[in-house]
Symmetry: C2
Subunit: 549 residues, 2 copies
């Protein structure tokens, strides 16, 4: 059997090596239009700062190593320009000219391409780059040799944030511009606020809610939608990607959502003997069951392996993806899995959320740092829709655990049952993930009621009185306007100061003491709700609304 694979990175290369392990006699040809295969595209930004020092480290495999070990015919600089399903052949442009190559099975793994926004002056600019592969990186490194001072990153998604950090670490003045009202749109606003604060604390200028509208002076100036002019010696475009579908569309292969290639559960496209995997395909969002585009390395690798299994006659099917991702932003990690609150509500789901703060390991052991987690769930069934986390350490662990819980169909009622490794350097007897479960169950069972940070003002306007149960010395670090101060440890004896006819909201620093206060008040007949995430979360997302004495 002769198998041609178009695209020699994640999905394509996983398919090729697995195919060889299953089909020793197959002829396997990998056609890659670029100079490199199997490179570490997720590592590219870290070469910019010098955190990854060796460019070769990014080149995981070479055609020679793949030939020697897997007997693969890997051809860089071979761009497939046409698929001819009728003759089962592809047309290839290489350095010598144009050739035809026939196939029995064809696997498309073309990936995604950077989205290029509508922007006047873009063609005339000579300092604008995107970053998807090693040649892109080489161009950026070349531009950096001219020692630019001011860099602008357009788009504050995962790659944009990584580029902003690495350019800053390299010593440039960095501005990041995001069209959405927040950085890191895959996260909800209040969780993304931790990231925005970290960017600002590290000296990056963050502009949200504005787009780059026009480039002038060959790109040296960027004009925003609000009219502001930003000087930029070097500009990175990272406003997202879309499926690389040109070849597929021209071959008559059906595409769907956002131009993504449509495949069945066996990665079979609408044209027989043509398969597709990776960032270019439409997948099923496992939680909603709806079509989605998920451009992540992990699913791409899995799909590549699975399509090899399918071609080799093994039973395998694409069960879909939930989408799990993480980004490091200086001293902070921010991660998410599944649906965020915004998307879950847009999908029409019955959504409740909870925020929990804890430590990455036992607080009494040196070096513990704050972990802030958010869970998005169905308060009736307990179904977990998604989770987000921010913090210095241990965020990857908690989100990976919650991603596993979602994949396993665990509900909020199962989270307290999870038994984690606990020794002081590694965790706590009650992990923040357990606490998420306890808190969510309290909400689901009506033991606790909460309001979210974005509901506080409206609830106060409706007449609910906010009680801050922190100690007086904590108020100096900032306090809510229009709140009564009533420290938790005095609440039992001073409860008579409260009006049983009035409705209350309680807040403390992180939400733990206010929950204790809420229970105390509830059991004494008060109508009271807990401000989820409490003062700490509110201060993160709306610092300007607080009073600092």
């Amino acid at each position: 059997m002769k198998i041609i694979i178009v695209g020699g990175v994640a999905g394509g290369m996983s398919a090729a090596t697995r195919l060889r392990r299953l089909m020793e006699d197959a002829e396997i040809i990998v056609l890659e239009k670029g100079p490199f295969v199997s490179f570490a595209n997720c590592g590219l930004p870290y070469y910019v700062s010098g955190e990854i020092t060796q460019r070769d480290a990014l080149l995981v495999q070479t055609p020679a190593s793949l030939q020697a070990r897997f007997n693969l015919d890997v051809r860089p600089f071979h761009e497939v320009t046409k698929i001819s399903p009728a003759t089962k052949s592809v047309t290839i442009k290489n350095q010598q000219g144009t050739v035809e190559e026939s196939y029995d099975k064809l696997i498309l793994s073309p990936g995604a391409k950077p989205l290029i926004p509508e922007m006047a002056g873009l063609l005339a600019a000579d300092n604008v780059y995107s970053l998807r592969n090693v040649p892109d990186l080489d161009k950026i490194m070349e531009a950096l040799e001219k020692e630019p001072k001011q860099a602008t990153v357009i788009g504050a998604g995962f790659i944009g944030l990584e580029m902003a950090e690495n350019l800053k670490t390299r010593g440039l003045d960095v501005t990041i511009i995001e069209k959405a009202p927040q950085v890191l749109p895959p996260l909800d606003e209040e969780m993304a606020a931790f990231v925005e604060n970290e960017l600002k604390a590290k000296g990056i200028r963050v502009i949200t809610g504005e787009s780059a509208q026009e480039l002038i002076e060959a790109g040296k100036k960027i004009i925003l939608t609000n009219g502001e002019e930003i000087s930029s010696d070097l500009t990175i475009l990272s406003v997202g990607v879309r499926p690389e579908n040109t070849l597929a569309v021209e071959a008559g292969i059906e595409v769907g959502l956002g131009g993504g290639i449509l495949v069945d559960e066996n990665y079979q496209t609408s044209v027989s003997d043509i398969f597709a995997v990776g960032d270019a395909i439409v997948v099923k969002q496992q939680i909603t069951g709806k079509d989605a585009l998920i451009s992540l390395a992990s699913p791409a690798n899995r799909q590549g392996r699975q399509v090899a299994d399918v071609i080799a006659g093994l039973k395998r099917k694409n069960r879909g993806s939930i989408g799990t991702a993480i980004v490091r932003v200086f001293d902070l990690a921010a991660a998410s899995t599944g649906l965020n609150e915004r998307v879950a509500k847009q999908a029409g789901l019955d959504v409740q959320v909870i925020h929990v703060s804890g430590k990455d390991h036992a607080g009494y052991y040196p070096g513990a740092s704050e972990v802030t987690l958010k869970l998005v769930f169905d308060p009736t069934t307990g179904t977990i829709y998604g989770a987000q986390g921010v913090g210095a350490n241990g965020i990857d662990k908690r989100i990976d655990i919650l991603a596993t819980a979602i994949k396993g169909g665990l509900t909020i009622f199962d989270l307290p049952e999870l038994e984690f490794t606990y020794a002081p350097p590694f965790g706590s007897a009650k992990d923040p993930v357990n606490l998420l479960g306890y808190g969510a169950i309290n909400l689901a069972e009506g033991i606790s009621e909460s309001i979210q940070w974005y509901q506080l003002k409206a609830e106060q306007e409706k007449g609910r009185q906010l009680i801050d149960v922190r100690n007086p010395d904590e108020l100096a670090k900032g306090r809510f306007p229009n709140a009564i101060s009533l420290p938790l440890n005095q609440l039992r004896e001073r409860m008579n100061e409260l009006d049983p006819a009035k409705e209350y909201i309680v807040s403390c620093h992180s939400g733990l003491r206010s929950y204790v206060a809420e229970r105390m008040l509830k059991q004494n007949g008060f109508n009271v709700k807990n401000l989820d995430g409490a003062f700490a979360l509110y201060k993160t997302v709306r610092p300007e609304e607080l009073i600092y004495d």
Copy 2:
């Protein structure tokens, strides 16, 4: 309602605070025979070395803080000496004398007590300590002020290993003695070998397969079962624990396995209105469904909270435990969850295992370190019975993920589907947990066949020929006796050197290349098996059997 709780640490204190949040009007009395409640017992060993510098950091709550916040009547130095179920009262010995206290509900959370081995001369020794609480720690710290030189730790379980490390860090010469043939008996031998090697590399003398038989010279000398004499200025006894059941037994409460208090799914003992939680109770091992004693902080805390829910009228039941634990041993972490291979086989289960090595994060990003995982599973159904891991970093994460997978009933067929956070500082596109799944499926589907390290010699004696597919330069670091050297990249062209009638085993360094070799040979008609874990694992557990040129 008047609720008395016996024991003021993990389970007891979780019960007390949850009870207060649910039953504002209840009278809640916590009776603790020791001087402290709610202390960090898992942190005690780290105070010995000074890694935790403040003794107060170990005292998480005080009676005063618990009174102020939770209106709890917490009484240290109150030892319950008798339970009288007929009159629903307890007899208490305190500093003033003896008092009676009635209860409506009684919760027993007495914990476990150190097992004291049969050892002649133990009573006459004045330098032998165990470590379960702060007074124990204080005694050890006092003994350390006399600047002992030589310390001996008897028992190489979790606490024994932590004490060995912390005493060594403090500057003592440390010997650790374990009766079992290996350190850390919860792990299988080859995984525990990583720990033993780390102990030795850090200068600890490790003696396995021997017991301390007799103490002479007031404990200054320890005589082993093999007759050897060990000098010891300070000896730590850590050979395990057993349920503290005296009170329960005397009150006529039924006990079971190992003397553990028997409770139903609602933590109700055999005597009405008496409940029990924590290390003292018999729980259901969730994987086998059999009775078990699991002395861990995490289940104890959960049980304490759940018994409070039960008493407050909420529906809650004890679903059992799987047992997840971790220990740091100098620069290594070792963790396990569920059943190990030995226990799973003893339980009569159909067991297959696989070892996988990977990196804690992307290999091309600085600082990646080795993660070695072992999975114990049913090769037919794919049920996951347990997992173990060793490595410098990221072990807690992988075992927590696998513990979640076990709790969620995920099988080996689900592990490749798990989508983890991936960015170069945090993980890999194919996490070692995914690789475990791929490897286990290969075994389950017959794509690969493996033998274990302990089967190698017997297989060779039966006539199987071992092929080492590492490169010649790797052989200098050690090689198998009686192996053919045939580097993987030459295997296709040199396959004619092999005898198709012969049976083969392939090995490389970590098992990845040998799997590729196995597939290549299998597809060419050879009868071949892969040495699971390959040379690296064999060298860890049986270094003395290898040849070093």
